[in-house]
Each structure stands twice: as C-alpha cells, then as structure tokens.
C-alpha cells in the first residue's frame, strides 16, 4: 500500500480531543533604520560621502540600503561587519530599483522611495503577528487533533508532463488563477475547537455527504485516464516527495472536498477514521483577504503596480500566518529514542534499507526537522504540533482546496477539445497545448469563463511552442520568448541567463563573513524526473519517479542516478538549443531589417 503523508506515514496522535487556548503574539519593536547608499568605492549617508571601507554599524540602528547590490558591495569591502539590510528584500512589492553605481544618487533614490512609500511599509513578521492575533480573537481555542493536519500531505500541485512542444500544428495556452489561495480562504473550515476523532471503518457510499474534516482513507482502483496521467499523490521516500503508485491501494488523509473530487476517479474509497467537526466556521481573515483583493484590482486598474503588488504580498502572508509554530529542541540519550519520537510525533519512519547516513542527510533541516548530535546526545529540533501559536488546519485546507481547484480545471481543459496535452502545472497555473485548428474555439470557451474576479482565471499567454524543464523553469515562445521563468538563476529581463551570482552573509563567531557563490542552472536541476520519448506524439514526456510498497531505496537511487546521467543533459541541451534558435532568429530579423533599409 502506498502512503501519502508529509513524511512516511501517520503520526501517533492523541485520541482525546483536548483543547488549547490559542496564544497571541506580543507586538515587537522595530529597530530604527539608518539609510546608507553605496557604489564600488564609496558610501553616502546623511553625513556625506566617504570611502566604502569607512562603513560602520551605528549602535542601536540597523543600516538599510535600497538594493541588494549595494549591501553586497558594503559586505565585500568590509568583511566581518554585519551588512545592511535591503529595502527591496524587506518590501518585495516596491518597484524594481536599479543599481546606479553612484552612492550619492542612490542615497537620493532611497530617500525618495521612503518618502513615497513609507506609510505603506509593513514588516512581514509584524503583519503576520497582527493577523495571527485576529485569528486568535475569532477562534479562541483549537483541539490538539489539529496536529493531524500537519502530518497530512501539504504541498500544492507542481508538475511537468512534457519537455517541449515544438510541433508545427499546435499552440500553447497558459492560464493563471486570480488570487487562488485568497479564494480558497472563502470556503468553510471545520471549527478548530470542535474537532473530534471518529472511527468509521466503512466504504464511502454513493450519495453520502461528509461532515467537514480530515478523513483517513484507503483509495483504490483509478478509473479515469486523467488521474492516472496526472497522478497528484506523492509519497515520501529517500528524503524526496515522489509519485505514489496507483496500482496498489493508497492510504491518504483527505479533506471532505478532496474525497468529493476523487470519488469519481477511483473505484472505492474506504474511510478508516476522521477528525471532523460538526460546526464550520469561515476563515477569520476571509473578508480581509477579499477586501485586499478588491484593493489590488483597483490599484491595478489605476496602473499602480507597486501597491497592487503590495496587496498580493500581504494576501500571501494572510494565507500562511497561522502556520508558524515554535520549534523547540529535544535531547535524547540514544539515536533510537530520537527516531522513535520522530515516528510518533511526525510519522517519520525510514524504510529498513535506508542507511542511517542517508537519513541524516535529509534530516539536516531541509524538511523542517533537524536531527543532530551534541555532547554525545541526539538532539531533535522540529515544530511543536501541540503548540498554541499555530493552527495547521487553516493552511492545510487552503493548499488542499487549491489542489482540487487546479485538478478540476485540468479535467475540464482535457475534456474541452480533442488532442489537449497538459504540459505544466504549478500551484495556480496550467500550461497546455492543443491542435491549432481547435485554438479559436478553445479560446472562445476560456474567454467566456475567465474574468478578473477572485478565484476566476485569466489567459496569461498564447504561443506556438513551449519548453518546460521542471517546476519553476519554463519558456513559452513563438518567434520570440513571450513568457518565461527560470527559478533561482533567472531574472525578469534575460530569458537565457544560465547562472546567478549570490552573496550571502554568514555569521561565524563574532564575524559576519560574505560568501560569494555562483549558482549554475545544470547544478540546480532536480534528478527526480525521467524523460521518455513518446513515439505516438513525438513528444518527450517527463515522469516523476514512482514509489510503492515494494520500492527499495536502491530502486530510487538507481533512478536518480540514471536521470542525472541521461535526463539532465537532455534538458540542458534543449535549453541551449532554444537559446541558439532565438538568437539566430533575432539575428535573421535584424539582418532582414538592415537589408530592407539598404533597399
């Protein structure tokens, strides 16, 4: 049986539904900022311009630069000193600021931008604290059974099915949902204080309406082609989230609306038990996020991109502000005891054939849990699931609802025209290709449904071709690249940037040491997906490694190595090919223009 959870399986959670009073957060004080600007050789602050080596931290104040580049220059010229914080990092919604390479001009620019926008400044932690306090006021209490929502599957749909669509008679359409998560917040939530555990142990009947909550289910027998091809279930194996096999039963915790969707895609759903509530509540921030979306739309209509982006940013914070538990450390005498606690608390239960050294690698904190040793003891740091400063059900259900919205739309798109191919899905966007002869009718259908309303979608772009390397890395193009994203190395202007230089500051002892590193695209490519040629369509299909009950660690390692050896070079070659094609077509276009001018 495959298991679909945050980690390997379910945790041993309390049966008794004790409730806890949610704890508000105290309002923190904000350290005053000291403005500074830099170029290669000098810094400028309120006292004037001087050499960059003269930079010093002002006691009781935090230095602030406008751009990351200026902060990096100060860090690199003054190794050991804490570098300034960056305004564009603190408020990512601010209009993009270019590095001016003149500290005096940069100082004027930061003063100007602060003058223009300071009344709109809101620090993320402060804002989240404020919104969490609103949640506490509305909900008051939560049951400890809320911890089940933490161990349930928690990630949105992010998948790539096709490497490249280059067929001549096809078109690529990309759609994007408007405020996906804020829209999901408008749905009902089980009352966190009213959660109770019920034993069901029966099959879901045809017309049954389920109470709001999280159901432990065993689902079996996929009956639709779409669910088999776009399998959304993931199992945790060898430190990675891999595709769960559907040819064996799948144990998974599902919300009632997810069961409603999956019931038409599977032969049977066996309900084992559930954490449900008889009462439902609306999300305490539902109205507020709605108002924020309306403001965002107004700002956008007024061409005020900065404030529209600010509302988007604040809405994102609102969707996630209930998921900030404390992360205490626990000390154990032996590793076995620590592993036992991890199994009981989070459902971390590595397979027998996974060596300790491999487990230690993914338990270094990347998955939110850290296992280490100190003075001969084993130390575990992880979220406190019974903590009164988090309510997991709110965030889990928002993401789960988002998954279902996307899956339903994918299903509708697949049925909307013959020959549709879903190429790429990522949280709130779908890219698909279809025969160009059907494009007109498809667009007419989409246009009849899309709007700028919350929860609706917009047609982002229509092109002839597309290249999708992995989630967060795609290029939609016709004669030129029209939309692209290249996670971690790209920027908004250069579609074919293949590396990025980052400067991070690391505190070692008393010193803050700047570390300059180059991130290359090929080095950050995941080996989790294989590429296989589809002779019928001529496409190269991408497929996430699949795991089931009988999958061994060796099977997974074999596949990862094969993918690294075979698939990553193909992806890079496709990227380089596209870059070459775009450059030569641009060159040809320029040459055509020149020839025209001559004539």
């Amino acid at each position: 049986m495959s298991r679909v959870y945050r980690f390997h399986g379910p945790a041993y959670l309390p049966v008794l539904a004790d409730s806890k009073l949610l704890r508000k957060r105290k309002k923190g004080t904000v350290t005053p900022f000291y403005l500074v600007a830099a170029d290669t050789y000098s810094i400028t602050d309120k006292d004037g311009t001087r050499p960059i080596e003269a930079y010093q931290c002002v006691p009781g104040q935090r230095s602030l630069t406008l751009t990351k580049r200026e902060s990096d220059l100060i860090a690199l010229s003054n190794a050991g000193v804490q570098p300034p914080v960056v305004l564009e990092d603190l408020h990512p919604w601010l209009p993009e600021q270019r590095y001016l390479n003149d500290s005096a001009s940069s100082f004027q620019a930061i003063k100007l931008i602060i003058h223009r926008f300071s009344r709109h400044f809101m620090f993320a932690s402060q804002y989240c604290d404020e919104k969490w306090n609103t949640i506490c006021n509305a909900l008051r209490k939560k049951s400890v059974l809320d911890a089940r929502f933490f161990t349930a599957w928690h990630l949105p749909i992010q998948d790539v099915h096709v490497l490249e669509e280059r067929r001549l008679d096809r078109s690529v359409v990309s759609i994007d949902f408007n405020g996906m998560y804020p829209a999901c917040m408008q749905q009902p939530f089980p009352k966190p204080s009213g959660l109770r555990l019920v034993r069901l142990d029966r099959y879901l009947s045809d017309s049954e309406v389920l109470a709001s909550g999280l159901y432990r289910c065993i689902i079996e027998g996929p009956v639709t082609d779409s669910i088999t091809r776009h399998n959304p279930f993931r199992s945790f194996h060898s430190g990675r989230h891999l595709r769960a096999r559907l040819d064996e039963p799948v144990e998974v915790d599902l919300n009632e609306f997810e069961i409603e969707f999956y019931r038409r895609h599977f032969q049977s759903i066996h309900l084992v038990e559930a954490v449900i509530s008889d009462k439902v509540v609306s999300h305490p921030l539902a109205k507020e996020v709605c108002r924020s979306f309306a403001r965002r739309r107004n700002y956008r209509n007024q061409d005020n991109k900065a404030l529209a982006d600010r509302e988007k940013y604040l809405a994102t914070l609102m969707t996630s502000c209930a998921h900030r538990p404390a992360r205490p450390c626990h000390t154990f005498e032996a590793r076995d005891q620590a592993m036992g606690a991890l199994r009981a608390e989070y459902g971390i239960d590595p397979p027998n054939d996974e060596p300790e050294v491999a487990t230690n690698i993914w338990l270094q904190g990347r998955k939110g849990i850290k296992l280490g040793s100190q003075d001969g003891f084993t130390v575990v740091q992880g979220p406190n699931l019974r903590d009164a400063s988090a309510c997991f059900l709110l965030g889990q259900r928002i993401v789960a609802r988002g998954r279902i919205v996307l899956l339903e739309m994918m299903e509708r798109i697949l049925n909307s025209a013959p020959g549709v191919e879903i190429c790429y899905t990522n949280i709130d966007s779908i890219h698909f290709s279809l025969p160009t002869e059907n494009l007109e009718s498809e667009l007419a259908w989409l246009e009849s449904e899309c709007s700028d309303a919350l929860g609706s979608f917009k047609i982002e772009c229509v092109t002839r071709h597309g290249l999708w390397l992995e989630p967060g890395r795609y290029w939609l193009y016709s004669d030129d690249v029209e939309k692209f994203r290249n996670r971690s190395v790209g920027d908004q202007k250069q579609p074919f940037k293949d590396h990025a230089i980052h400067v991070v500051s690391r505190q070692l002892g008393e010193l803050h040491v700047p570390i300059r590193s180059t991130l290359r695209m090929e080095r950050t490519m995941s080996p989790s997906r294989s590429l296989t040629a589809d002779a019928d369509t001529g496409l190269i299909r991408q497929r996430l490694i699949e795991v089931g009950n009988a999958t061994t660690v060796e099977d997974v390692l074999d596949e990862l190595e094969q993918n690294q050896q075979r698939s990553t070079p193909i992806r890079i070659a496709a990227f380089l090919d596209l870059r070459e094609r775009m450059r030569s077509s641009r060159f040809a276009a320029t040459k055509r223009d020149d020839d025209t001018n001559i004539m």
Binding site: P51, E53, A54, A75, L76, N78, A79, G80, V81, A334, D353, E354, P355, V357, A358, S373, D375, G376, F377, D498, L508, G509, E510, L511, H512, V513, P514, I515, R516, R520, E522, P527, V553, E554, L557, L560, E561, Q564, Q565, R566, T568, P569, I572, A573, L576
Partner: protein
Amino acid sequence: MSESNGTSVWVGDLDCCIGIGYNDDDDYDQDNDRAAQPDLLKIELDEIGELQLLAGRAISALQLYEKSIAPSEWRQAIHQSEMTIGFSSPKVLQHEGERTNSLVTRFVRGMLNLGRPYAIARYARWERLDYPSALTATLPHGISALVNQLLASEAITRRRDVDASIRAVFGSNGMDGMVAYRRTGLLQAALHRIADDTPTHPGGTKLDRNRMRAILALARLHFSTVELRLGSLEELQSLLSGYEAERAIAQRDDARITTNGRLIQGWRLRHLQPLLNLYPYSIRHGLKRALEHGSTDFDRKALVNELALAHCGIFRMRLTRNAKTLVQAQ
C-alpha cells in the same frame, strides 16, 4: 489447570504461559529467517562483488563488510559519488566551461571537498585555534574579516593603502608555486609594515604576540586551502613536488627560528606541509592511488568507486566519533 487464549496456554503448575500454535510457528520461522540471513547477506555481497579501484587495485564487498560497511551504506556512498561525478554529455560539459569539464576534475574536487572540514578541524586543534575562526579563515572573504578584526584590535585605522597591501598578499598575482608557509611570511611582513607606517602604533615589533600567532596560523590555513583548490591530478602532483622541494631546502637550512624566546629546531619543517596531510586516510589513500594510476585514461566506474570508498571512510569516522562521545558522556 490451564487456560487458553488461542496462541498460548497458561500452565498453573509452572505459573507461566507456554506458547502454542502460531506463535511457535512464528518463532521457528524467525529462527529460520535468522539462519537464512547470513546466506542472504552473502548473496548480496557476492552480487556487489569485486570493486575496481585506481592503479589496478580492487576491493571486495566482503572486505568492506569486514570493515563494518554494510551493503546499503556502500550503495549510499556510490550514490553520493555518482551525483558528484555527474554526467559526461559533451554538449553540457562544453556549456559548463573548461574548468569543470572532466570527470577527473570532479573526482579530485569531490575528494578534496569531502575531507576539507576534517582537515580544518584537525588543523584548528593542532594550532590551538577555535573552530569558527578556522572555518572563517578558509572562506575567501573570511580571512579579510579576521585581518580587519586584528587591525581594529591594534587600533590601526583601515585606509585604502592598508587594504591594498593586504589585498596584494591575498591576491594570486605572482604567487604561482609559492607554498602557504611562504605566503604567510608575506602577510607577516605586510602587517609589520602597516604597523610601522601607522603613526599612532608603536610598530611591528609591538604587535600583540598572541593575536599575531593566531592570525598567521589562520592565514597559513587560508593559503593551504587555496592551494588545494585543484582541478587535476597534475596540479596535485605539482603541489606535492613543490612541498618536497621546499622541505629539502628547509632541511639544509641550519637557521633556527626564535619564537616565544625559545630556539626550536625543525620549526619550519613542522609547518612546511600541505593541508592534505591532515585529510582523513580514506581520502589520502584514494588520491595516492589516483596519482599512481600511471595513465591519463581513467575509467569512470573506478573514479566513482574511489570517491565512494572515501565517503565510506567518512561514514566510519562519524560513527566512531559518535560512539566515543557517547562513551565519554556516560
């Protein structure tokens, strides 16, 4: 009198339960399983078989098992090694650039990166330095941070000329073939000059002895890690030959260095060695075999096995360290 619960029987006379039925069968099965396990292990070890290494050497999975490397750990080590050595597609390699385009380069870098933290920790212990400072010294801008800290503690104001002379020492211009020990001497001279040129400072000879000892040891560590950023076995061989030559000169040199008011024989020799000498044995042995390979034609599988063997050495070291710490704690 006896009571039965289906799987065991309560025997009043014995005042205990006697297992019957399935439990007994399970026990026998478990015994059989246990007896079969060595056979399974043997099959698994036989399946892995002989592992080809460099310089015509080989090791068997059984030998690894005898050294406490279980087959699953070996598989994990192979995986980490495979992912480091990576792919060999010509187009991608061309895209990555010449400096990283050979499997041997990745092997050499993989080996040196794997052992570096251990060598740094050993060096720190040997030179009585705190580990965070030692780690800082190995970062390109970390050593500048440490020098800035020293200058601040000596009340020497940073000026552009001060920074330029420090940068000249840490830069690579004209430093080809110069070993870490000699480059550290250049830093020492530069610091003395800076102190002498600072009107408010009593001069180079009055620099705090302990601070200078620490910064020079940290600088030598910095230069030692820089000279080990190698991309080929030829570069490694050249570095080792350079050290041999320097040590030969130092052995002939009768001059004794005075430190802390004492004359210490062989002081220079003690410090004239590459950081590689402080690397774990598994890595040094692997690199030695690579140097002895005698051909420029390297089999990918052998490179992967060598790096995996080094990983296994590290796994064992970690396990031994944890066990030692646990014993000490108890």
